[in-house]
Symmetry: C2
Subunit: 338 residues, 2 copies
DNA sequence: CTGAAAGCGCTTACAG
DNA sequence: CTGAAAGCGCTTACAG
């Protein structure tokens, strides 16, 4: 059986196609009785409006896009993005919006995807993550007038709305906590240095350490992978002035760091304290469970989705500061040795 | 500036809209000279065909769908699906197909999404994962005649094509390897029992253990989460006839199991050997690195995508048996104690 | 080889 | 409150 159309419904209800459209979309123009009859028929024959026809006649595509420009080997173990996606979905599903996902290799390729999507009218808006300094995507988005919401900042995004959380404050909280435990040599293993939130965390880290009068505040740049996180940890632990605590920019690197420390015969937390960022279930998978800066990533995603949907509907939107990450102490932190 | 259409191109090239369509789609009906001129203009003005118009006039939606019916807390740390998705994308991108993702709560909800997507003509086909016995999705897919490919089986899928790998053989390989090391008490921590491939692995496990004359072959059912994997491990290690080796159905549970064993004072691999399934970077994140049944999940996904695209194009498709998982010995396996 | 036209299934002014 | 019609931007038979 062919997929039913509004013409089929109109025929059965004895009204025009226009009336069916009005009835189904909750528009005025039909009597309540007619509306109910039409809705009943639509339900009975399992009608779903052809999204292409709808989009073509001026309505929205009812889809938003997400491009991810990290290598697959990072995405597969990095819990952040699936968390974010599940937050998106919660909002999108309730409005019958679809999520279109595309993996890309670079911000340049991302830009091409935006152009194509918008030209094809395939999406009504996009989520932009991993904001960089002087991000090439921002001017293109503005030129296209493609509704968008930037996740992670704050940064220069012109008229494009942002959702961000106070990374600087969270870093400060973690450092102060370690300081209160007695640590004076704290190091940091960071994610990609070109990402804006990495930069923000780094600055805050340096600042707080200076304020507290620490002798050193080393940051080793890594890339969110376990390999790099492990390598950075090894480097730190072999240095002359070995840190007594390390803060990692995500939990994958923290888990790798824990493993390296144990391999090198250090006890965590007795010899080395570890703090992870982004408190996924990964942190409770290992022994000891990791102290982490936790935040509700799904909620973060849900807020971003609401912003994007508002932007698409041309409602006024303001930047949103999401709840900051809170420190969740677990077994991987303790006073320093000696 | 408005998004350009074929009418704009036709005007500038001095031809009809039909000619533009033929030229851009590589159809006969225009001279080579005209074709090149049209293509040059299209490129110059940054033309992208409106996907809605295209879909409406009989062409494909150029999108495929994936529904995921596992809880977000599993998806976020389970590397399998992102691996699969990156495999899909590699194939889809080369044909400019989009991937539409939707998280759902149950197979029943999945069925509803299929009906809606197909009714809306939003996708041309779908990926079906986590096949169950008497899966409710199969008859609906057949009724709708929605092109689909089932990932993981083999099972009863009627006319729907499948991509699967030899789980039974992989289990046998792992058990024989442990047996060769001297283990006689091997246990298994499984994923959701209602999934067909879980069942297949379980049967193979029982069979091989019986063939080898093992005194016991316990399987504890879990659900792929770290919590359950840890709980199952604790249960096994506290039992009177403690196993000397445990095989896990995914790597998240294996990592959790390792952590529980270490917490209980057991040395891995001296006191307990651990084998993980699905060799994500997670396995090399921990210490000792985990022996695993590895397979190329991205390639698995790429094969499934090719199958689906062929099914959509109404080409003949056969079931594909992907390369089986191979045992990759690492530091978590050794001869049993004593 | 090329043009004019119908049609896909909706939405939305425009008349009655 | 309702109907008839135009139009969204493509594709594709059908004539020339």
């Amino acid at each position: 059986m062919k997929r039913p159309t509004i013409a089929d419904i109109a025929l059965r209800a004895g009204v025009s196609k226009g009336a069916v459209s009005y009835a189904l979309n909750g528009q005025p123009g039909v009597s309540e009785a007619t509306r109910e009859r039409i809705i009943a028929i639509a339900r009975e024959i399992g009608f779903n409006p052809n999204s292409a026809a709808r989009a073509l006649s001026g309505a929205k595509a009812a889809a938003v896009g997400l491009t991810l420009s990290r290598p697959a080997r990072i995405l597969s173990v990095e819990p952040f993005f699936m968390g974010l996606i599940s937050g998106f979905e919660a909002e999108l599903a309730s409005r019958s919006y679809a999520l279109t996902l595309q993996l890309v290799d670079s911000p340049e390729q991302e830009v091409e995807v935006y152009r194509r999507w918008w030209g094809e009218r395939r999406v009504d808006g996009v989520f932009v993550s991993d904001l960089r300094d002087g991000d090439v995507r921002i001017p293109v988005l503005q030129e296209l007038q493609l509704p968008a919401v930037v996740i992670g900042g704050p940064g220069e995004t012109g008229s494009i709305t942002q959702v961000w959380s106070d990374d600087a404050g969270a870093v400060a909280e973690a450092v102060r906590y370690l300081s209160a435990l007695g640590h004076r040599r704290i190091a940091r293993v960071s994610g990609m240095a070109e990402l804006l939130h990495t930069r923000a965390r780094g600055q805050a880290f340096d600042e707080v350490c200076r304020t507290l009068g620490f002798e050193s505040a080393v940051t080793v740049a890594a890339d969110y992978t376990g390999e790099e996180g492990g390598r950075a940890t090894r480097q730190l632990l072999m240095s002359a002035s070995r840190p007594t605590a390390v803060i990692y920019d995500n939990d994958v690197m923290a888990v790798a760091g824990l493993s390296v420390a144990q391999e090198m015969g250090l006890r965590v937390p007795a010899d080395l304290s570890i703090v992870a960022w982004d408190d996924s279930p990964l942190c409770r998978l290992v022994h000891p469970p990791l102290t982490a800066l936790s935040r509700d990533i799904a909620d973060y995603g849900a807020q971003a989705a609401r912003q994007l949907l508002d932007a698409i509907a041309e409602k006024p939107v303001d930047d949103i500061e999401a709840a900051p990450a809170r420190l969740t102490p677990r077994g991987s932190t303790a006073p320093p040795p000696g």
